[in-house]
Each structure stands twice: as structure tokens, then as C-alpha cells.
């Protein structure tokens, strides 16, 4: 009797495996209930010039919107791919990290008294639609969508780190560390997507371009609206 071939195991990058093990990062200042609040988590700088204040507001607004969209992208992907246990487990793990990111972004919005994007509901619907649509094309296409979105977000976080240089207020120092941590998390998701055959997705180059351009348009809109 021939034994059936085992399906290839989905691989987790060593960095994602490492990140899934609980390790305190700068964001634990917002998430760890044992850490007492201090000036870096409870205050916002009052001495920013109007232009620097606008940069801070736009940055946090678009970061929060991006995390909302990322949550719903994974939710959309899971809605379609939930019957594949290994893919579902992988998406669940990445989604869990995005939920943590969104919780921190919500606290940052309140701390720095930022107006959230008026496109909140649009981000939810568009994220879910993108995730579900790419998942319907197959799990490689879902991974390609993840790869494209995480590439755009990783570049965007890098640009923000440059924009937020200069201020020495403890809350901005912590914000820079949190953005750095989240950028690294998103790049881990990108690596995971590549290691799980995102580049075998049908019309990978076209799909990545379309998703990347869409992300950049959404980023510019959410900075302003």
C-alpha cells in the first residue's frame, strides 16, 4: 500500500518564530498591565511647532488606519482559507500581532490627542475585501498580498522614523521605538509570506504592483482625511 505524500509544511521564519515567543518590546509600555504609566505613555509634547505637530498627527492617523486595514485583511484571508489548517494557523499568528499593533495605536491616538481618520469604515471594508479576494485566488496569492502590503508598510514606517527625528520628549522617543518594533514585525510578516511561496502566486508582479499602489494611495489619503 502506498502511503500518501505528506503536504509540505508551511514554514515560519526564525524571526517570526522568535517574535511569537513572548518578548517585551517598547510596545509593552502600553500593553503590559504591570508597567506603571509614566510621562512617556501619558503625555504629549506641548512645544512642537505647528508643522511638526501636523507631521505627528498625520503619522499616527495613518499608522492607526493601516493597522485597522491590516487586521481586516487578515480577517478576510482567514474567512476564505480557514479550512486549510496550516495556512489558517499562520494567518492567525500574524493577525494576533496586528491586533496588538492596533491596541497600541489606539492608545497612542488617545495619548497624543489625534483625530482618527474619517476613512475608518472604508479601511475596514477595503481591507476585508482585499484579503478575501486575494485568498479566493489561492493561498499563494494571499501570501503575495501580505508581501505587498507589508513591503509598503515597512517603507512607510521607515519614512516616519526619519520624519520623527529630532524631538527628545520621552513620548516621542518611545513612539520612535514602537514604530521601529512594528516595522520589524511587519518585515517579519513579509519574510514569512515570501517563505510561504508568495512569489508563486499567479501574476505575482501585477498583483504586487496593484496592491502596492493601492496601499500608497490609501496612506496619502489617510494622512489628510
Amino acid at each position: 500500500m502506498t502511503r500518501g505524500l505528506k503536504p509540505p509544511r508551511l514554514s515560519l521564519s526564525p524571526r517570526l518564530l522568535h517574535s511569537l515567543v513572548q518578548r517585551p518590546g517598547p510596545s509593552s509600555a502600553y500593553l503590559d498591565p504591570n508597567m506603571s504609566p509614566d510621562v512617556s505613555t501619558c503625555s504629549t509634547p506641548n512645544d512642537l511647532s505647528p508643522s511638526r505637530r501636523k507631521v505627528l498627527e498625520a503619522a499616527l492617523r495613518v499608522d492607526q488606519a493601516g493597522e485597522v486595514a491590516a487586521n481586516y485583511i487578515y480577517q478576510g484571508q482567514l474567512a476564505v482559507l480557514r479550512r486549510d489548517p496550516e495556512t489558517a494557523a499562520l494567518i492567525q499568528d500574524m493577525w494576533a500581532q496586528e491586533r496588538k499593533h492596533l491596541a497600541v495605536m489606539n492608545k497612542l491616538q488617545v495619548q497624543h490627542q489625534i483625530r482618527p481618520t474619517a476613512l475608518w469604515e472604508v479601511a475596514k471594508v477595503a481591507g476585508f475585501g482585499l484579503g478575501a479576494m486575494t485568498a479566493l485566488m489561492g493561498k499563494e496569492a494571499a501570501m503575495a498580498c501580505t508581501e505587498a502590503v507589508e513591503t509598503a508598510i515597512g517603507e512607510h514606517y521607515d519614512d516616519q522614523l526619519k520624519d520623527l527625528q529630532g524631538s527628545t520628549h520621552p513620548s516621542i522617543v518611545l513612539l520612535r521605538n514602537v514604530i521601529r518594533e512594528f516595522r520589524d514585525d511587519e518585515l517579519e510578516h513579509l519574510d514569512t509570506a515570501v517563505e510561504n511561496n508568495s512569489q508563486r502566486a499567479p501574476a505575482h508582479a501585477l498583483l504586487s504592483s496593484v496592491v502596492g499602489i493601492g496601499c500608497n494611495i490609501a496612506i496619502e489619503l489617510c494622512k489628510r482625511i
Partner: protein, 228 residues
């Protein structure tokens, strides 16, 4: 002090230098007011906008303000010394200098929105997403109605503001009870028009007597024929 005597006028700006920590020995000349603040009504608009900005600071620094209602009451109290001149001041701000368009409502919307935002900040609001907007829109509408009432009847304005807050919280509790009732609807095999649940909740809440009077004797068949 100068506003109470002279209103939102260039005379007030001219006399403002007499109240500086190192007071000037005489009021500013009209050309000095023009140089510093703009000519004609532009100077008056500058004064009014500065007074409105100071009103935001007043909310932040007023004593015993711990919730949005106290914050809006403090802001209404700030209006009291300048009440006689406020109607003309708002009309001036809503009239663009060039006359086109004839009426500009943006300053009025901005005024109410900034007060609502500051009230939420002072009260420690932690709303995120769409509820951030709905909360501020509600407060802006409440404040606008209360301020208009204050212009006509200053003594009853605090009471009117309180009644608006009571109505808003009543409506919120009715809507949340209706939502809870909807979520408890049986799923399969039992069709109930959604509107029945809303009417039932409103009647049982006993808070919307006006709706009960408006409905009158409505038969069950009439209610069942409605479907939303």
C-alpha cells in the same frame, strides 16, 4: 474688561494697550491698530478670533471641570461678559470680507467643533474610530443650540444645556436598549418586524412620552403590516 465697555471694535484694540503689564500711556492710534491688526473689519475679526481662542483656554483652566457638561457650562459662562456684543460678532465672522459668498458657515462649524473637542479632551475622552466623530458632533450640536438659546435668554441657558444633555443620554439609552433587544431576537422560524421591537422598547422604556402620544391607538394588525 475693554470688550465689556466697547464691544468687539477697533476702540477695544486701541485701549487694550492700557491693560498690558507695562501699560501704554495712551490708546493706540487708528493707524497703529491697522498696522498691528489689519484695516477695517479685519481687525475686528482678529479680535473676535483671539477672544474665541481664549475661550478654549478658559475651558482648560476653569475650576471644577471634570466632565463634558461642566466644560460646556464653563464655556457658556465665558460668554456672559460679552453677551451684548456676541450676535454682531458672530455675524461679522460669518460675513467674508470680500462679500463672496454672502455667508460663510465654516467659522461657526469650526467654533463649535473646537469647543466640543476641547470639552472631550478635558473630560478625558478615550473614543476611537467613528465614535470619536459622533461624540464630538453631538456635543457641537448641543453647544450650538445652548449658545443660541443663551443669546436670547441668558438666565435659562444652563438649564437648557442640562435638558439637552438629559435628552441626549435618554436617546442613547433607548437606542442601546433597542440594539440589545434586536440582538436577542430569535433567529430561525420566527419572523418579527424589526420596527415592532423598536416600538416595544421605546414604550417599555417609558421615556419617550411624546412618541406614545403621537402613536395613539395603533392596532397590532397595523403594526404587523409594517416591515422594515
Amino acid at each position: 474688561m475693554s470688550i465689556r465697555q466697547h464691544g468687539f471694535t477697533r476702540t477695544t484694540l486701541a485701549h487694550s494697550v492700557l491693560s498690558l503689564p507695562e501699560p501704554h500711556f495712551e490708546p493706540l492710534s487708528d493707524s497703529a491698530v491697522t498696522t498691528l491688526f489689519g484695516e477695517g473689519d479685519t481687525a475686528r475679526r482678529t479680535l473676535i478670533n483671539a477672544w474665541l481662542d481664549e475661550g478654549i483656554v478658559h475651558i482648560r483652566t476653569a475650576a471644577l471641570v471634570s466632565n463634558v457638561k461642566d466644560a460646556l457650562l464653563a464655556r457658556l459662562e465665558y460668554n456672559v461678559p460679552a453677551l451684548d456684543y456676541l450676535t454682531e460678532a458672530f455675524a461679522l465672522v460669518a460675513s467674508p470680507g470680500l462679500g463672496i459668498p454672502p455667508l460663510d458657515l465654516r467659522p461657526a462649524v469650526q467654533h463649535a467643533a473646537s469647543i466640543a473637542d476641547e470639552a472631550c479632551r478635558v473630560a478625558g475622552d478615550t473614543s476611537i474610530g467613528p465614535s470619536w466623530y459622533t461624540k464630538r458632533a453631538t456635543l457641537a450640536a448641543i453647544y450650538t443650540a445652548a449658545e443660541l438659546h443663551q443669546l436670547a435668554s441668558p438666565q435659562t441657558a444652563p438649564g437648557f444645556l442640562g435638558s439637552l444633555f438629559d435628552s441626549a443620554s435618554d436617546m442613547q439609552s433607548v437606542l442601546s436598549e433597542a440594539e440589545n433587544s434586536r440582538s436577542m431576537l430569535p433567529r430561525a422560524g420566527q419572523r418579527l418586524p424589526k420596527v415592532l421591537v423598536y416600538f416595544d422598547t421605546i414604550l417599555q422604556a417609558g421615556k419617550c412620552n411624546s412618541k406614545r402620544r403621537a402613536m395613539g391607538p395603533v392596532s397590532v394588525r397595523a403594526m404587523n403590516s409594517l416591515s422594515v
